[in-house]
């Protein structure tokens, strides 16, 4: 591909100068002509992760003292993506460490003795998915789900948003973390979800991506986070709820993943036909897709992703934006169809084996280029991955670069067949018993039989949808060859499907059919 610099139209500004400097730096890491030589340094990255886990983190990570579950999650899931299992002793120590961060009033904190917060709650629960199991010492039964639900409800605001912690801010990342956890642990209720889709929709900006929060004050007559809690009430539909902040990769992933997680709820509790149910809320999915693909850098930037318009490429957006493309595709319904593409122009651009790629590849971003960015610019020579050269590696970028690499190698999409199989094996009473096990107490109770049926449908829909994501056969592509393969990761949770399946099955009380049952035996 051509290596033109980003055009500056003979008009330099701070942004274009910074862009140019970055292109000069990244250019030096251009992949070799023979891409088969590009190697993922699995051993070095494994050692980087192992050092952090066993020996601990150097002092500069004091900035992460309030994010300790994240350090654990980034490391553990990093191992899972690299295909490394953990010994029982490490698992046990991890479970003990995580439980020391569970808050007595529910949820998990950034560290022992700190206050509970939605972000570390996600990181802790996902870490439990990797190392935990049911039963004594397994961690899963030690998660206080009833108190967690109460904690979630105590953060709820009338505009459908949630504070990230008491006295904390509203942030789309927190909403994603809450929804992912509530999905995994079977804590979703209409009470918890009321107003959430409407809130998310207000966070989409004119660019198509999402920002961190919207302003509720004009529609709800107050926006004081200290006093405005509770269920949504009627509000002024005509009043603006403007997005605060510009479209951004992290928030866009969180909003899009939340939107996908909410689909079963939206289907059941809203109506496009009028009547007593509220009208279906909407986002501009085409604009979302456009924004995501516009964030992919030029060939001179090796096709890495940016997090905002006119900002620089950065390895972590490989996941936040690269990983978001499949969510936009899913919402647009383009993952379900495989009709022929008018391919005639491929003949002419087929000098370097381009064709085999195109045939395997239904994805709407450039999977090959993204892999090249991560492999050539994202890997630190001493192990671990990074934002971009010449920056050092760190735990956060190591996970989100490897997760981005995974998203570029594997195409994991919702499978209708899998969803049907899961639904046909659904045991309503067990799901119900599991969900109810979090109260006797004050938590949500449906007020009528009809409400109870709806709730059962909701649980089934949420479970089956979350379980339905599967890798599409024959679509994996590996720059540098199959030796560079990493494991697939679930686009909604960023866990391997083995880990998310395990946790979901337990907390919904289900024994879903095997993912591999209907495939021909390979013996």
């Amino acid at each position: 591909m051509l290596n033109h610099p980003t055009p500056t139209d003979g008009y330099e500004t701070y942004t274009s100068r910074l862009q140019k400097e970055t292109e000069e730096l990244i250019k030096k890491h251009r992949p070799p002509h023979d891409t088969a030589q590009i190697e993922l340094q699995k051993k070095l990255h494994f050692e980087f992760l192992l050092r952090n886990l066993r020996q601990g983190f150097p002092e500069r990570y004091t900035s992460q003292d309030a994010s300790q579950p994240w350090l654990i999650y980034w490391t553990l899931h990093g191992f899972s993506i690299l295909g490394v299992g953990l010994d029982d002793q490490t698992k046990k120590r991890t479970i003990d460490t995580l439980l020391a961060m569970q808050h007595p009033e529910g949820g998990f904190a950034g560290g022992p003795g700190q206050t509970a917060h939605l972000l570390p709650t996600y990181a802790a629960v996902c870490s439990f998915a990797v190392v935990g199991r049911p039963g004594d010492g397994g961690g899963w039964d030690a998660i206080d789900r009833k108190k967690m639900y109460d904690f979630f409800m105590s953060l709820k605001r009338r505009d459908g948003s949630f504070l990230v912690s008491h006295h904390g801010e509203v942030d789309v990342r927190g909403i994603y973390c809450l929804l992912a956890v509530a999905t995994l642990l079977n804590l979703l209720t209409p009470e918890l979800l009321a107003g959430v889709p409407e809130f998310l929709a207000t966070c989409q900006t004119y660019e198509g991506g999402f920002c961190n929060a919207s302003f509720p004050g004009w529609a709800f007559e107050a926006d004081d986070p200290e006093t405005e809690s509770g269920s949504p009430k009627t509000y002024d539909l005509s009043a603006p709820r403007p997005p605060l902040g510009e479209a951004h990769g992290g928030y866009t992933f969180c909003a899009a993943a939340s939107w996908v997680l909410l689909q079963p709820y939206i289907k059941l509790y809203y109506s496009s036909a009028g009547g007593s149910l509220p009208p279906v809320p909407s986002i501009n999915t085409r604009a979302l897709l456009r924004w995501c693909v516009q964030m992919q850098g030029l060939p001179i930037e090796l096709g890495g992703f940016k997090g905002r318009t006119n900002k620089l490429v950065d390895g972590c957006y490989s996941w936040w934006v690269g990983g978001c493309v499949v969510l936009a595709e899913t919402l647009l319904g383009v993952t379900a169809t495989h009709e022929a593409v008018p391919h005639e122009h491929h003949e002419e651009s087929d000098e370097d084996g381009q064709k085999s790629w195109d045939d395997a590849d239904d994805s709407l971003f450039n999977r090959k280029a993204l892999q090249e960015y991560i492999l050539c610019a994202g890997q630190h020579p001493a192990g671990g991955l990074r934002d971009k050269p010449p920056k050092p590696a760190d735990a956060y970028h190591t996970l989100y670069c490897t997760a981005g690499l995974s998203a570029a190698q594997h195409r994991v999409i919702p499978s209708e067949a899998r969803e049907k199989a899961v639904i046909s094996a659904w045991h309503s009473s067990q799901a119900h018993a599991k969900a109810e096990s979090r109260h006797p107490g004050t938590a949500y109770a449906p007020s009528s039989d009809a409400d109870r049926e709806m709730l059962d449908e909701l649980r089934k829909g949420i479970f089956a949808h979350a379980m339905s994501w599967s890798e599409e056969d024959g679509t994996a592509v590996y720059v540098g060859g199959a030796a560079n393969r990493v494991n697939a990761t679930h686009p909604l949770f960023n866990l391997t499907v083995t880990h998310s399946d395990g946790m979901l099955s337990y907390f919904y009380g289900q024994t879903p059919p095997s993912r591999y049952a209907n495939k021909p035996a390979t013996k």
Partner: protein
């Protein structure tokens, strides 16, 4: 305060609490002695619920070592309120911390809580000025912008707060026309947040915005921030893209129109690309294809031609996306 609280008689009555009591933690952080000492005492203070002047000092000590310690911020806020510390004083005290740690969420959220409690337009106006100094150091700081927008909406005073924003944005875009945060801020002020004083005539407002963004496109035609603003303005006002065909076509040809020929005929609605423009601009081609797609019929073929040239030549990194646009348009035709 002396170096360690453990050596300070003033803290002798507090029982410090170690972070991990009976656990050998996985993935531990190697804290400095000072940090360990301060957070041990902080856990002790949290347990008793103490809110006192020395606790204010302790939270500041922790925040300076780790500004992302949200629990320290939370307890500091509760203590400020409980001790009835003048909120203006606290804001003032936090100015230096804000400028030092401007990339930290908590820094800005704390100020938001203080301003909410202050309920003073004067304080809000001063805060907008303070944020200008912060944005001078980092013109794209996400949280600072988000906070600025919240102040404008929350206090919502046309003359004291909103009135200065457009001129401020124009200054910033004068300095860097590619500053997407400034473009977003303009959209927030002009379109997303109701009707500004003086903008009651919506047609006039839209004309002003279109001519503003077209001038900026002319200056640097390959600036996605300006094109996104243009698209956003049109979509927000339900204005068809096709109303800008003449303008856009100036940017889809390979050559800037030769200058000097019709110097006396200045078309203000359609400012031509600058002399240094690198044409055709990809964003202009995309825009023109959108016009053709919408027009439908025979024009669809022209849209497909443009998408093909983007896919195979002018924007190859997005080949898959442009091919999707072709597929999508053909399936609807």
């Amino acid at each position: 305060m002396s170096e360690l609280l453990a050596d300070d008689p003033e803290w002798a009555d507090v029982v410090p609490i170690r972070q991990y009591e009976n656990v050998n933690p996985i993935a531990p952080i190697f804290y400095s002695e000072e940090y360990k000492d301060a957070t041990d005492y902080f856990r002790g203070v949290l347990k008793t619920g103490e809110m006192s002047p020395r606790v204010l000092q302790l939270t500041e000590r922790i925040i300076r070592m780790n500004p992302a310690h949200y629990t320290a911020w939370q307890h500091r806020y509760k203590t400020v309120i409980s001790l009835k510390i003048p909120l203006e004083e606290e804001l003032e005290l936090m100015n230096e911390i804000a400028t030092t740690f401007l990339k930290t969420y908590q820094v800005w959220h704390h100020r938001r809580l203080l301003l909410t409690a202050l309920t003073s337009i004067d304080a809000a106006a001063r805060e907008l000025e303070f944020l200008k100094t912060v944005l001078r150091a980092d013109a794209k700081n996400y949280h600072t912008w988000s906070f600025r927008q919240w102040i404008l909406a929350h206090f919502n005073d046309e003359e004291r707060l909103w009135a200065g924003e457009r001129a401020y944005i124009e200054d910033l875009l004068e300095q860097d026309v590619r500053n997407n945060s400034a473009w977003h801020h303009r959209f927030f002020v002009v379109f997303s947040s109701g009707i500004r004083l003086g903008d009651e005539d919506r047609d006039q407002m839209l004309r002003r915005e279109l001519s503003f963004v077209k001038e900026k496109i002319a200056l640097a035609p390959n600036n996605p921030s300006a094109w996104n603003y243009l698209r956003g303005a049109l979509e927000h006002t339900n204005t068809p893209f096709s109303t800008l065909t003449t303008f856009v076509e100036l940017y889809t040809t390979s050559q800037p129109p030769s200058r000097g020929r019709d110097e006396d005929v200045v078309d203000l609605d359609n400012p031509p690309p600058s002399a240094g423009a690198q044409l055709p601009a990809v964003a202009a081609l995309e825009f023109l294809a959108d016009i053709y797609e919408k027009e439908g019929g025979d024009a669809s073929a022209k849209a497909v031609e443009i998408w093909k040239s983007l896919a195979n030549e002018k924007d190859v990194i997005r080949k898959k996306y442009w091919e999707y646009r072709i597929r999508d348009a053909l399936s609807k035709a």
